[in-house]
Symmetry: C2
Amino acid sequence: MGNKTLNDLFLTTLKDVYYAEKAIVRALSKMAKAAESEDLKEAFLKHREESEGHVQRLEQVFEMLGKKASGKTCEAIKGIIEEGQEIMEDFGDSDALDAGLIAAGQAVEHYEISRYGTLRTWARHLDMRDAVKLLDQTLAEEKKTDQLLSELAEARANPKADRAA
Amino acid sequence: MGNKTLNDLFLTTLKDVYYAEKAIVRALSKMAKAAESEDLKEAFLKHREESEGHVQRLEQVFEMLGKKASGKTCEAIKGIIEEGQEIMEDFGDSDALDAGLIAAGQAVEHYEISRYGTLRTWARHLDMRDAVKLLDQTLAEEKKTDQLLSELAEARANPKADRAA
């Protein structure tokens, strides 16, 4: 145990994120289906497509390590997605549904932002330059999605005002 | 069900974050105890103290709503903290422990950043100006902690280089 290294930690976390991304792809499909507004549906579907690309980038990083891509159950993303599911159940036919879905989406994005930020820092320290590039690309897309959801939250938080516009 | 509003969503999410903050206070104590380096220990202890203040601010927001402060099990933070616990178990006596603890801390911070960002947006739309102020103060502290952890990650990711310095 005592001789575990940053390489081991990197691989463990890579597996965690690989599991998370695959779960996110599935969750985004459900969230897109549930969303009331067309722009939110589109945002979720676009990010689902991006997330499929993120899975592929992670597979490339596994390859760089000479390892077979494999996931490791990520309790964090399970909990985050479960909370989104609760929102869909509890606010399913209310005016506040989209606001709740956006919040769930942003919780997902922030988990990913933290994980990709961590992986990128470690890849830099491990001198894995090609991995840094790939992780950076994904990180930028996660941040952009979070920003887009913030903008939709501003517009959607008050559905009455929105409708009157 | 159909007549649930943004007010209901705000209250539900407030309870979620209230539960989360209390769990975070407990987790930060354990993480501080486990951390190898003094600066990381200090960072966790300082943020534990701040988090106690966050709990109090949330109680003020409950009061503004005329509600008794109460938590609602937050599966997301349970999962995030569980992953931190796994790191402590699996990397407990390795050189990579602090890097793993920092990553766990950043996952916690990002969850909070997403939740406080959401609550602040909704409070603004619900015209709860005093709540917006309190939520903004906490949000700023969460972001600052995340930033500090990023700096520690840069310094700690490569313990050998660090020791040589």
